[in-house]
């Protein structure tokens, strides 16, 4: 009987304690809300060429694109940072005749465009830093190191240039764990450069969809 009373007493007491502690569990905001902090993201990107770049040079989607970014997240909704990346477009055309003024070339053409964009960006976040979903919009500007190579058969015609680059994007961060350091980043972004050469008459442009993993620390 004594044992039974003890058990009832303990269980009631425990429930009471449990009920009392519940609202106290989280009283301080997370350090990510209290302090400015850093955030690094590695992204894999699929890119769809757009506009005249797609019409006159390469219209094939590319999945050989990567980037790394580092950003500084302020206490308000803004973050700024830098991003360096690598992207590669390629298209093969079957043998065809290319007519010059008094010259005719017959060749299998392989068109390529390699880019290493280096950009600074600013993000505006719509929800707080402890929210497990953090949608944002982004604008970016910088330069892109571009290699334009067209192969006629095994012969190459190459042009390398540094061109201004810019972009606007919309995306969201998803935390794996509440107030955790790691999370998923999904972003859709329009990116363009003012590179003009031969087939590319009006600069390059593409719609990039990327999936990345981020880590944040303070």
């Amino acid at each position: 009987m004594k044992k039974l009373i003890l058990a009832v007493f303990l269980s009631v007491g425990f429930t009471a304690v449990h009920a009392q502690e519940a609202p106290k569990l989280y009283t301080l905001p997370s350090p990510f809300e209290r302090y400015t902090h850093y955030l690094a993201t590695a992204r894999f990107t699929g890119a769809l060429p757009l506009g005249s770049f797609s019409n006159s040079y390469i219209d094939k989607s590319s999945f050989k694109n990567y980037s790394i970014s580092l950003e500084w997240v302020f206490q308000n909704n803004v973050s700024v940072g830098g991003e360096i990346g690598s992207s590669y477009f390629q298209k093969r055309l079957p043998r065809a005749l290319y007519q010059g003024d008094d010259e005719t070339i017959s060749a299998v053409q392989t068109r390529t465009l390699t880019q290493h964009p280096l950009q600074v960006f600013a993000n505006y976040h719509f929800l707080g830093k402890s929210s497990s979903i953090q949608p944002y919009i982004q604008i970016s500007a910088g330069v892109s190191f571009i290699d334009y190579t067209v192969y006629y058969g095994s012969l190459a015609q190459q042009q390398q240039k540094v061109a201004p680059a810019y972009g606007v994007g919309i995306g969201s961060k998803f935390l794996f764990k509440k107030d955790g350091s790691f999370g998923l980043d999904v972003r859709a972004k329009y990116e363009g450069t003012s590179f003009k050469y031969d087939y590319i008459e009006k600069g390059t442009s593409s719609l990039n969809g990327s999936v990345g993993i981020f880590y944040r620390w303070w």
Binding site: Y66, R95, A107, T110, T112, T114
Partner: protein, 240 residues
């Protein structure tokens, strides 16, 4: 250049790992040295990861999947002022001119014979009549195998790891250079106007020429195909 550097780093990592496993077996080194080496390996792995992400695109070889036939490029040039209908007869050189940088000679190998024979066949089907070189042909055909060779030099990057510890010392190596040679060959076929010589300059005008370039130009199986291609893309040569 960046790609080469990355490759060298990867190689060094492999060697280092082999070395390390040996060292473990012999128990030759003290534990703290091994620890520092492990740390270094971690850093190296990070660097390699970064390099792999950042520069993976430069390891692309976009034309490695081309077949021999697909590597071939046919370039033809015409003299727009020439009226090809005025020519009736042609002749052709009896062997191929071989030009290497500034030296030249002649050759008549199997592929050369096939080339010359196929040119004759094509010219005849375009309506020209073959005559011997001594019978005053209206046009003459020259065929040449041209090779340009260049010597290039690059400085060799230095990666020595830090197996010997170093104790703050680096390596005092002189600058090493690597030489490599590139050479490109192509067929050059030209058509010369003997009917209207320039009597002032004493020259004959080249009214058409063709270059065959690419990795497959030495292929005896493809030589007929090559010759047919340069003529089929020059339909203005047809006189009948």
């Amino acid at each position: 250049m960046v790609c080469d550097n990355v490759k060298v780093i990867l190689k060094n990592k492999k060697y280092r790992e082999i070395f390390k496993s040996k060292m473990f077996k012999i128990k030759f080194r003290l534990l703290n040295i091994l620890n520092s080496k492990l740390k270094m390996l971690k850093i190296t792995s990070l660097l390699i990861l970064f390099a792999a992400i950042g520069f993976s695109s430069c390891s692309n070889d976009p034309i490695s999947d081309l077949s021999t036939e697909e590597t071939l490029v046919y370039l033809t040039n015409r003299d727009k002022t020439a009226d090809y209908a005025q020519y009736k007869t042609f002749s052709i050189v009896d062997s191929v001119l071989v030009v290497e940088n500034n030296r030249s000679g002649t050759a008549l190998t199997e592929i050369d014979r096939d080339l010359l024979q196929r040119i004759v066949t094509n010219m005849q089907s375009l309506g020209y009549t073959y005559v011997s070189p001594k019978s005053n042909p209206d046009v003459g055909i020259n065929a040449a195998w041209v090779t340009n060779t260049q010597l290039n030099v690059v400085s060799q990057p230095s990666y020595y790891g830090n197996y010997w510890g170093g104790g703050g010392y680096g390596y005092g190596y002189p600058s090493y250079y690597q030489y490599y040679e590139t050479s490109e060959s192509y067929w050059l076929i030209s058509m010369v106007d003997f009917k209207n010589p320039n009597t002032v300059d004493k020259t004959y005008k080249v009214i058409w020429d063709a270059q065959i370039r690419g990795a497959g130009i030495g292929s005896t199986q493809l030589i007929d195909n090559m010759v047919d291609s340069i003529f089929s893309q020059s339909s203005y040569l047809k006189i009948k």
